[in-house]
């Protein structure tokens, strides 16, 4: 009685492993997502921004709400080598770091930069980090998806 049960169990386990082996297992390592130059995007009337060059489109209403702002003339967007998106705009106090998911940008980190709002922010892609420059104040901040360096 016990022998057929063990046999059946063993077969089930073998099938499970087999099924797992047939599933997606290919992984490409060391992908560089770095966007060499930031994108400066102008929101439309629905607060949608569209980066045609790097093929990404999203709505910034939630972002504005988070910043307590009703509108932004332009938003600055850059992606680091790890694939995280960094978003900010003039008068924002923070830089928002997003990771991608299926049809989503999920907030990974909200990096506080200043309490008075950024004057003229600009992102630069640098070796190993994202450089945020406030051209108005002359301040520079080195960032990664974890926060400020």
């Amino acid at each position: 009685m016990a022998k057929p049960t063990i046999t059946t169990l063993a077969m089930c386990v073998a099938l499970l492993f087999g099924a797992a082996a047939c599933g997606p297992s290919l992984v490409i390592q060391n992908v560089d997502y770095a966007q060499p130059i930031e994108s400066v995007l102008t929101p439309d009337s629905n607060n949608d921004v569209h980066d045609q060059r790097y093929a990404i489109k999203f709505n910034i209403s939630n972002l504005l709400e988070e910043e307590g702002s009703s509108s932004a003339n332009e938003i600055r967007l850059i992606r680091n080598s790890a694939g995280y998106y960094f978003v900010t705009a003039a008068d924002f106090n923070n830089v928002y770091v997003f990771e991608t998911d299926e049809g989503e940008l999920k907030l990974k980190n909200k990096i506080e930069i200043t309490a008075n709002g950024l004057g003229q922010p600009a992102f630069n892609q640098r070796d190993g980090f994202i450089e945020l420059v406030d051209l108005a104040s002359g301040n520079t901040y080195n960032l990664n998806h974890e926060g400020r360096n």
Binding site: E38, N124, V133, L135, G138
Partner: protein, 406 residues
């Protein structure tokens, strides 16, 4: 003291390094590539819109400066311009500059030609205007001096000389036009057409003015003889010939928007000019023949004139055969003299140029005139009389001899 200076210098150098590092750090890559795009576009516009060597002055140095200013950011710019590159853009700019420089050289050469052409046209217009003024003045004097025949004859001679000068002057202008445009290729034609758009006046307009003035002269002329109208007709024939040869090129070059319309307009004007001449020419020719005792049938065109001549010669020749009188011979001599000395001698070339009579038509009349000449002299009876007298003398002598012998 020396140490203190060294310390101060070190601090100053450190400060300078910090300041410069801050300055470098405060740049926006996005702004750099935007600035490059703006500077590049400005230079492209300057190169593309340059129309003179003055416009190009300093541009080459500015391209060098653009390259020097942004070469350290070439990797940023390459990323922004992908799939183009910074060096491709600079090369493209230099190629545009070279092309523009070549175009400007061509444009400036063309401008020089156009300026020369305009000067020529101005000079031509002025001289033509002087001749017109002189002609109008002479015409006025002619109209007023009808009472004084001697003075009138002198004025007519002067008026005729003025017409001849004008013909000669226009002919030189047309020869000049032909030399320039008869063998012009399509590319040059098109280049001149572009440059000619800036001209206030052009050769087609000048030709139209000349034709209008000629028509006016033909309409207003009076007191002129057949030879003068034949000269006008010859000038018309030459003008029409030149227009046939270079009209297409001139209209395509100087009126590229409506060449067919312009050609038609000039052709219509030429027809009107010929009609004005013909209005007076046939009457004056008929008068000239009549004044020399030659009554031709009526004629109102070149072909009917030739027919009238042919009919006159053939009928006169027939008459000579039939009547064989001294009178007929005199008619022949009169016609032959007028035909050879005046028609062929004085007017022959003008008639051929003006398409009044062709050389073959003249030759045909000559042949018929030859036949008339053979028939015209009255046949003499003297030989017959002498023969009869001789016969009578011989018979008389024979009779005398026979009588003496008997």
């Amino acid at each position: 003291m020396k140490k203190s200076i060294q310390q101060t210098l070190s601090i100053f150098a450190a400060l300078l390094f910090v300041i410069s590092s801050t300055a470098v750090a405060q740049q926006s890559d996005y702004q750099i590539q935007q600035d490059f795009r703006a500077d590049y576009s400005e230079l492209v516009n300057r190169v593309d819109n340059a129309v003179s060597s003055d416009d190009l002055q300093g541009l080459n140095a500015d391209i060098d400066a653009l390259e020097a200013d942004y070469s350290e950011y070439s990797s940023i710019i390459n990323a922004a311009l992908y799939p183009e590159t910074f060096s491709q853009r600079i090369e493209d700019l230099r190629n545009r500059y070279t092309a523009s420089e070549q175009n400007i050289t061509v444009i400036e050469e063309l401008n020089e030609r156009i300026r020369g052409l305009m000067d020529e046209l101005d000079g031509f217009r002025n001289q033509l205007s002087d001749l017109d003024e002189e002609q109008a003045n002479l015409k006025e004097q002619l109209d007023r001096s009808s009472a004084n025949e001697r003075r009138q004859a002198a004025l007519i001679r002067q008026y005729r000389e003025n017409l001849e000068t004008r013909d000669q002057f226009v002919t030189e202008f047309l020869e000049n036009l032909m030399t320039k445009y008869q063998s012009m290729d399509a590319a040059t034609q098109s280049e001149i057409a572009d440059a000619a758009e800036r001209m206030e006046d052009n050769p087609v307009e000048v030709l139209k003015t000349i034709i209008a003035e000629y028509t006016n002269t033909a309409n207003q002329s009076s007191d002129l003889a057949a030879g003068d109208y034949l000269a006008m007709r010859a000038q018309h024939g030459y003008f029409a010939d030149v227009w046939d040869r270079i009209g297409d090129r001139l209209t395509n070059t100087f009126t590229p928007d409506s060449p067919v319309q312009e050609r038609q307009e000039v052709s219509d004007m030429l027809a009107a000019w010929q009609a004005s001449i013909d209005n007076k020419l046939w009457n004056s020719l008929s008068t000239a023949f009549n004044q020399n005792g030659i009554e031709l049938g009526s004629f109102t065109s070149a072909s009917t004139f030739f027919d009238a001549l042919g009919i006159y010669v053939r009928e006169s020749s027939q008459q000579a055969v039939e009547s064989n009188s001294e009178e007929d011979y005199e008619v022949y001599r009169n016609f032959a003299n007028f035909w050879n000395s005046t028609v062929k001698g004085q007017w022959g070339e003008l008639m051929i140029q003006g398409n009044v009579l062709s050389t073959s038509e003249m030759a045909e009349i000559d042949v018929e005139l030859g036949t008339w000449g053979e028939n015209a002299p009255a046949t003499s009876n003297l030989m017959f009389i002498l023969f009869l007298v001789s016969l009578a003398v011989i018979i008389g002598l024979v009779v005398l001899l026979v009588t003496k012998k008997n």
